[in-house]
Structure formats: C-alpha cells, structure tokens
C-alpha cells in the first residue's frame, strides 16, 4: 500500500503547487492520475517516489512511513520505486552507453555481478538490440531511449512503479510496447503502479482506476503558469 496523505508540496513555500492532496494506491493496483499540464501532478509523483520533499503531509510505503527524501531516505525505501520520466533525453546521463545506463542502479547498490544477465534480459523485454545497447543516448531515438529508461526503472525489481507522463513523447506503437512491458512486469511481480498523464483514453485502458486531479481534496484549483 502506498499512501500519500495531506501532501502540500512545491518549489516556493508561499505558493505550493500541490495543496493538501491525499492519494493511495493498493498493493498491485494500477492508478492513473489525470490532470492538465502544470497542475502539480508530476510534483506529486516526485513526492511519492521520495524525490521531492513535501512541505507537509506523510507518505507511507508498505506500512513504513517515509522520514527522509532523496538521499535522506534509506536506500531500501528509495529503491522500492522504479521511476520513468517524461523526457528520456533529460533522464539519461549523456555520457553513458545504454547498457551502462540500465546497469547503473545495480552497480550503485553493489550488485555489479548481476548486471550482465539482467541487462540482457531487460533489453530483450523492452526490445533493444545488442547493437543499440552499445550506443550513447544521442545516437538513439526518443522511443529507444525511453525503452532503456524503463529497463533501468525495472532493473532493481521495484515494488512500485511511478510513470510520469512516460509515453507523452512517444508514438502509438512504442507507447503500446512500453505499456505492455510494464503490465507484464506487474503481472509477474505484483508491483503497484502510479501513472501520471493527461491522456484519458490511455489511462482508462491501462489502469484499474483513474483519478482526476480536480477530485483530489484541496488540489490547487488554478494551474500555475509553468
């Protein structure tokens, strides 16, 4: 169970983007969060993934409350989340080859020896050829890079997946392929999913339940400029 309760968060204390929002995702459930751009749904997703410290409110992950965010969160709590962002270009270190990109979380958590097999397995799953794995981010397309980013999010076998507009930059067939990979992974592991987007049709088909941003209690009514 992933429970966010009464979260207030943002980038300026006097004008928080997310105000007093509560949301919970049951174990194994797929929840879609629908909202117009700039409403704060990405910020909420970052709070849920322990990447952005809220001004107030609590996050409880599988029964244990989060006490710290980013590096202050214990590693087991941080790595319980696989995160995929909207823009693959910005979420990949430009110096790393795709194979290193996918293996990086394993290396960072001291499981270097698993890297080879796991990268091959995930590459097959997301549909990246061995040749593509040797390339750097600027040598592949957005879709190919997002496949690698999804593989990276899955490499530590997270219990929760947070997809922040994962498919917004992609064409229909890549979108379908990536959603299929996520669903296959969830079927195997029973991982929960919080996916954020503004495509009603996609989220409706993908998720067990979709939540509209406006319906979350206390959500900022007026979207901010950015």
């Amino acid at each position: 169970m992933l429970e966010l309760s009464r979260i207030t968060a943002g980038y300026e204390r006097r004008a928080p983007v997310v105000r007093d929002v509560s949301l919970s995702v049951a174990a194994g459930e797929a929840v879609g969060l629908l909202g117009p751009s700039g409403c704060g749904k990405s910020t909420l997703a970052r709070v849920a993934a322990l990447l952005h410290r809220p001004y107030s409110g609590t996050v409880v992950i599988d029964g244990s409350p989060a006490h710290g965010w980013r590096h202050r969160a214990p590693r087991e709590q941080r790595t319980a989340f696989g995160v995929v962002f909207q823009q693959p270009r910005l979420s990949a270190d430009p110096r790393m080859r795709l194979a290193d990109l996918i293996a990086e979380p394993l290396r960072a958590t001291g499981r270097r020896e698993e890297a080879g097999g796991r990268v091959d397995e995930l590459a097959r799953r997301v549909g990246l050829s061995a040749e593509l794995l040797r390339r750097r981010p600027h040598e592949v397309s957005d879709g190919q890079l997002q496949r690698a980013c999804l593989a990276r999010a899955l490499v530590l076998r997270p219990r929760w997946l947070i997809c922040d507009e994962m498919t917004a930059m992609l064409d229909a067939s890549t979108t379908a392929a990536l959603v299929a990979v996520v669903e296959e992974y969830r079927e195997e592991t029973g991982a929960g999913l919080l996916t954020v987007g503004h495509d009603r049709t996609l989220l409706g088909r993908w998720c067990d339940r979709t939540v509209r941003w406006e319906d979350l209690a206390g959500a900022a009514v007026t979207p901010t400029a950015d």
Partner: protein, 285 residues
C-alpha cells in the same frame, strides 16, 4: 539526427585534426624539453665583450646587456613559464573543481558559506593577493606557482558550481537517486564527469593566464630571482635598453610569452568542441 549517420561513419576512428595551435604547442613543448638536454650551452654564460649585440648568425636573437645569448635564455625562460603555467593551472583547477563541486553538490548552507569565502577571496585584486603570497616565501619557482594557483582557483570554482547546480536538477539525477546511488556516487559518476569538460577547458585557458601572471610577478621583481632566466625577468631587464633603441631584448621574450599563450588558447577552443559528448561520434574528416 543519429539515424542519418550511417553505421560505418559512426564508428570511424577519431583522428585528431592537425591544427596550427596544436603544432605550435607541440613545438613549444618540444623546444622547452629538448633544447636544454641537447644543447650543451650555459644560458647564464656572460660575455661582456658581446653586450647588446643585435640578432646575427652566432646569436639569432641577439644578446642582452651582459652579453648572454637571448635565444638560449628565451628557451630556458619558456621552460620556467611553462612549468609555472601548467602546474599552477592544474593545481588551481583541482582545487577549484573540488570546492565548486562540493558547494554545488551539497547545496544549502554549505554552498552559501563556501561561495561567500570565494567572493571574499575574489574581492581582493589577484595581483595584490599574489604579491602577498610570494612575499611570504623566498623567491623561487614554487612560491610563484602557489601564488598563481591560490589566486586562480576561484573562477574555476564558480564555473564548476554553476554547472553542478544546473546538472543537479536534471531528471537523470533523480533517476540515479531512485536507483539507490549514494550522494558520493551521484557526484563522482554523474556530476563530475558532466563538469569535467568545462573544468578541463578552464584549466587549459588558465595556462596562458598563469604564464602572464608569472611574467607580471617577475616583471615587478617579485617572482623568480633576477639572475634566473624567466620571460618576465627578461622583459623587465630589457626596459632600459628598449629606451636606447635596442629592440631585440624586449621583442623576443615578448613573442615567447605571446605565441605559446595564443597557441594554448587556440588548442583549448578545439578541445572544447571535441569534449562535447554529442560530437564524439560525429564522423571525422
């Protein structure tokens, strides 16, 4: 973009393009390293019978006011200047990168404290601070190096900090945090490699600056001992003869300061382009 590059062109070996600056830098370094080893002449040898001779076959750059061969002294002076320039620039870059990365990666109050210290140091004119440092030691090469390094790490620290701050908010850093990377690993694996091109470039651009600084200190009589051949010392010593119309003791050491600095700056410009990861896989001509 990448799709238009054919598979073979992508893996074409990167052949360094020959450039004028590269050739000049290589020549300067070779001269500085080899000439003292191969030419068994003493640059300190005084010949009072041949004072202030204009350039000739036996003395291509002429002689100074005590009859020392200027070509030989220029080469020895170049050695000193290069040593000071390279070592000081390297030291300044290491310190500046460490401080800048620390401030940028930690953020918060640590960042504020460190950057105020940098501001404090920068508020004193460099030359004044440099003079203060050399004044604390006996004249020699090392005090000059320390002085130049101590006054030049500030700009690198600023550049590196700004760059780290901009990288820190990228989603790939978020991804690394979610992937379990420690603060240290994020800094070493993602932030530092991201700023190294800038830091390296700053280091190379600092070499000419350091050479100028050394020359300025020596010109003021605060750098190296006056008998030791250094480009700054030579220009300083030549002031009197220049007013008397003897141009060569000023011109040649001056050229020896200008040419390497321009060559290094030109090389830095080429290097900046090649270090950009986007250009690594571009086909080379």
């Amino acid at each position: 973009m990448a799709e238009t590059v054919s598979g073979t062109a992508r893996r074409a070996p990167r052949v360094p393009r020959p450039s004028v600056s590269g050739a000049l830098v290589a020549a300067v370094v070779l001269v500085a390293l080899l000439v003292p080893a191969l030419v068994p002449l003493d640059e300190q040898a005084v010949d009072l019978g041949a004072r202030l001779r204009p350039p000739s076959w036996s003395h291509p750059f002429g002689t100074d006011e005590v009859g020392r061969d200027l070509l030989l002294r220029c080469v020895y002076g170049l050695r000193v200047s290069l040593l000071v320039g390279v070592v000081a620039a390297f030291a300044a870059t290491v310190v500046g990168t460490a401080v800048g990365a620390l401030a940028g990666a930690l953020g918060g109050w640590a960042d504020r404290v460190v950057m105020r210290v940098v501001d404090l140091c920068s508020s004193v004119p460099h030359l004044l601070l440099g003079i203060f440092v050399v004044a604390m030691f006996r004249p020699g090469v090392w005090p000059v190096i320390v002085s130049v390094a101590f006054t030049h790490w500030l700009s690198t620290a600023r550049i590196v900090r700004a760059e780290v701050l901009s990288l820190r908010s990228r989603p790939y850093i978020d991804a690394a945090v979610a992937g379990g990377s420690s603060r240290w690993r994020v800094t070493v694996r993602h932030l530092l490699p991201g700023v190294l091109p800038q830091a390296g470039l700053a280091a190379v651009l600092m070499v000419p600056h350091a050479i100028w600084h050394e020359s300025a200190l020596s010109f003021l009589g605060l750098g190296l001992p006056t008998h030791q051949a250094s480009l700054g010392n030579m220009v300083q010593a030549a002031r009197g003869s220049l007013l008397a119309g003897d141009w060569w003791p000023t011109l040649f050491p001056g050229l020896f300061i200008i040419v390497p600095t321009l060559a290094v700056a030109g090389l830095a410009a080429t290097w900046r382009d090649r270090l950009n990861p986007r250009r690594r896989s571009e086909p080379t001509l």
